[in-house]
Amino acid sequence: MADKKINKRDIAKLPNEWCREFSVLVPSRESGTVAMTRWDGKDIGFLDWYRNTVVPPRDSFLPLIEEMFSFYKDKDGYNIELPPPKEQKQLIFGIRPCDARALAILDMTFNDGYQDPYYLGRRQNTVLVGIGCTKAYDSCFCTSLGNSPTDTTGVDLMLTDIGEDFLVEAITDAGKELLTTSSLSKATEADQARAKVSEETARQKVTRNIDIRDIAQKLRASFEDQDFWQKVAAKCISCGICTLLCPTCYCFDINDEMSKAQGVRCRSLDSCSFPIYTRMPMENPRTEKWRRVRNKVCHKYEFYPMLFDAIACTGCGRCIRLCPVNWDIIQIIESVPTGA
């Protein structure tokens, strides 16, 4: 193992180095909420306060609003123009393991069958530098899903807090290429050991757990249990927070926007919590909120595993933390009848 380490004092040197080649995104509170925004070359203070973003880093790949193509009409009829490809490569510094894993889960959908050029284009154009968690929110439950606060799934380079330094691990070749700055020194065996301790300490801080054994089967058996679903949906207010801010939610809508002679076809995130999500002019199969709640839960814990053999949840806890009525997916999953 040729892992490196870097002193915390020198940490700004990393993005400084990287921003020559990449557009570097770091967590910031600039916009009034916590989101990944472009690094200004100065403030690296997020390390002091940052736990996770409100807006998941998914937004850098499947943004809230995205221009798919523009169209205009001339004497020969309609013409369609794709947006120019992004030249500059992107680097996300500080992505959390739960969110990096979420991207690996999204890849399954966007890679499958018909490839999605927008999402995949950004994925290929982006390098992920993860920072392992040292603290957890009381809504975090990543460890229940086979994840961990220092898990490296999906990242190219991983930083783990080992006291005065960060242990710097290259996970992929793209990650290796980032290890150019002279501020890095060779990590010792003691550092590796410290990283292990750090991981274990972080794990202990994740206090919430769910038992996901046989969850898909249980959900299948309970699909028609209307009483159960009505009960768990009772306090839901059908807003879009838990879906629009979920790192593994990807549903979108497609709409045309006109300005004078030119139009733009846009895609924007959508939410299965909204009644109009499935509304057709004559029918709507999910007008009642318990049906929507059921679909949301089952999609993550039953349908997605059936399709891709992966639970579409990484335990980031945003849906619990940000919910206006404290609707808690952990409690729902725990209370699914065994179906026996």
């Binding site: 794709l82 050029p117 809508d253 045309d256 002019p281 199969p285």
Partner: protein, 290 residues
């Protein structure tokens, strides 16, 4: 079950991008009913006009630029390739905009999407087509395709109903099928008028009366969800096994390619796993999600 393997499906991307439509030109418009029109159209691109192929039952996304996209099945037959057809009822924003268009207008077309009817499975069988209203559109594509390969199939029954005589689509086809000795065509309306001398009654009831034999047969059902829901039990009583009942489902589909999420019934995505399903595939969910 895992995701349907769609690697062998024909894909016709514009500019290499699954979301970019081809431009097609409307060549003819047929007024089917007061609120339903059939559009005949062809690709603007000469080469694509020759190369484009699809299967009965497949659908496409049609765009009116500046208004939006909506999915409709291709209602013409793959065996008749002079142009494409789709039949559209005016019900919402995009369909209203489509109905405002005239001959010569350009619209966007992405497709074909979905699975189409399983011809291999249907060949050599007795076919019972059961349709209501505009639900005939996807079936009509298959019916013509079957007629054009008549020797490959056995008996053909067509039971078609609409709310009123004025709501019957494809009357020019019904004329031809009615005269075809190898086809048993039964039309019905919920409520007749003075000029109507045919049957009256809802489609599921008429199916019960006609009582097609289940032996070596496949029933293909198309129509509004409530008709589909009520027809399956009738067929079941007639001895049709779940695998012998096919239908094509309609959902709110946006992307058409299994990404945008909204057309799911359980773990099934109508846009890529369907829209053609056997009752066996969907019976778990159909009572509560469709």
């Amino acid at each position: 079950m895992t995701v349907t393997d769609i690697s062998r499906r024909k894909k016709f991307f514009a500019q290499g991008n699954a979301y970019v439509p081809h431009i097609v030109v409307i060549e003819k418009i047929i007024e089917e009913t007061p609120d339903t029109r059939t559009f005949h159209f062809s690709f603007k691109d000469e080469k694509l006009r020759k190369d484009f192929i699809f299967e009965s039952g497949q659908f496409a996304e049609y765009s009116v630029f500046g208004v939006g996209e909506a999915p409709f099945t291709i209602s013409s037959s793959p065996t008749r390739r002079s142009h494409l057809e789709c039949t559209i009822k005016r019900v919402g924003r995009v369909t209203n905009a489509l109905h405002r268009l005239g001959v010569g207008a350009e619209i966007g077309f992405r497709g074909p999407y979905g699975n189409g009817f399983p011809l291999d499975y249907l060949q050599g069988k007795n076919l019972v087509f059961i349709a209501g209203g505009i639900g005939m559109a996807p079936l009509r594509s298959l019916i013509w395709s079957v007629i054009d390969n008549r020797d490959s199939y056995q008996k053909i029954d067509i039971i078609y109903g609409a709310r009123s005589p004025a709501d019957l689509c494809f009357r020019y086809d019904l004329d031809l099928w009615g005269r075809d000795k190898t086809i048993n065509l039964v039309t019905t309306v919920d409520k007749g008028d003075e000029g109507w001398s045919g049957r009256e009654g809802f489609v599921p009831q008429v199916v019960e009366q006609v009582a097609p034999s289940a032996s070596d047969a496949v029933a293909i059902v198309g129509g509004p969800p409530v008709m589909i829901r009520l027809t399956f039990p009738v067929l079941k009583n007639l001895g049709f096994a779940p695998e012998q009942m096919l239908t094509t489902l309609e959902k709110r589909i946006k992307c058409g390619i299994g990404k945008c999420g909204r057309c799911n019934i359980g773990n099934i995505y109508v846009c890529r796993d369907g829209p053609v399903f056997s009752y066996a595939q969907i019976k778990q969910f159909i009572s509560s999600e469709y």
